[in-house]
Symmetry: D2
Subunit: 140 residues, 4 copies
């Protein structure tokens, strides 16, 4: 399963080099995760309401070409690793007009309770666990 998110590069996202500042890519990745969970039929806000958080343990991003103000951007989001305790996503950031690759990256996450203590999703939230396993299998 791969979700697609569309957004338009904002003026405030540019820096004085005239390109989108690199700190916005983690935010775009996050918009990708938001869409991914909606496509999964379980919005991330509902997961948090159920008492689960998904903080990052690491992230990385490679920048291929600069994005610029008003560029129409597509984020392709998929799961690259899933266990009951961890969840890793991969992202492709493309220019919509010609599907050129702008950047690609990954984020690694741990499932935790509201106090940021690790939890095993398989035991604590089996419905979500099952949805994620299915989404992961559809990708690979």
């Amino acid at each position: 399963m791969v979700s697609e998110t569309e957004l338009i590069a904002r003026y405030g996202e540019t820096d004085q080099m005239g390109i989108v500042h690199h700190s916005n890519y983690p935010i775009w990745f996050e918009a990708g995760r938001t869409s991914f969970f909606i496509k999964l039929n379980i919005p991330y806000s509902k997961i948090e309401e159920a008492g689960f958080l998904l903080p990052l343990t690491s992230m990385r991003c490679s920048f291929k070409k600069p994005a610029r103000y008003e560029d129409e951007i597509i984020i392709r989001t998929s799961i690259i690793h899933f266990s009951g305790v961890r969840l890793d996503f991969k992202y492709l950031v493309l220019l919509k007009v010609d599907q050129q690759l702008i950047a690609e990256g990954e984020t690694a996450h741990a499932w935790t309770d509201l106090n940021l203590k690790p939890v095993n999703l398989k035991r604590k939230y089996p419905e979500l666990y099952a949805l994620l396993i299915k989404a992961f299998e559809k990708t690979s």
Copy 2:
């Protein structure tokens, strides 16, 4: 009472005009409030731990001269209105090197509980109320 906060304009705060993007001024004002409460001897984090929030009801900012990357900036923060339920701050944003005015602005806030319901600080948190009254009187 007036607090002073020093900061250096960050690269990521610039935009493609080559100046600090206007959306950063509310964040600089907030850094000014953080310093103000520390000078008051009651860090804002402690106020939140005590169960009180101070969300904005409005803000305004006038931009006099652009700030640029690496500029050393001073924020002068003071209270311009205080009642048991409302608290308004005024900010002067200066270039440190020559004390030139970069921007000035105001934010208006309501005291609320953790559910964002308005509270009367005078009754609910009299110690903080007394400190704020004193700080307000020292200004005017």
Copy 3:
């Protein structure tokens, strides 16, 4: 003329109060202006390429209700003042689901050249001046 911009509140736009941080509203207003110029048939990026900038001289925002992560937001943008040298916008920020007003605000701008020196658009860029006058008249 009024443009409508849709966006989804991002996780990174929230703060520890659990609501969208107020510094994002100027960025949402800016997304509103981007749409407005596109609706006007002259993308703002093209205006900058033609040698004109539109920095803010002031902004204000009133917050009516908090926005939250994943909220679908509509920004309604219109011109409230226009002369050859100044351009002021007004914004309504609505929750899409029930059209509730979240916030409303204004930004005031000056037309400048690439060195941030004021220019008279009527003389320097009459085609854009004509489009803006028409858009302003359609609003009022």
Copy 4:
């Protein structure tokens, strides 16, 4: 050579998990680079004025412990790779109070001209090349 940068976590940098949002770490790293170049006696703004840019080609960050609002933070910045065309930095993010490691990361950069075309610093800007070589050698 290692530079140290101090900053205070801002309220607007937190998210609804109550911790500093991960997208701020690249911005903190950048504040680290700003200090590093100042310690090198050649502010980054001067390098840009001389016609050179240092865009990122990649970044990564590992998150060890959450940072929270008002935390006093130290960024330790050093060079881990340098050639005439590339420059890579490493960052340690520490809590000032107890020197606990909050996060660590790296950014990789290419030297370019103002049009983002790669340049060889050794030939184009030998003085800066010499300073960077010396700083790199002091680290390793």
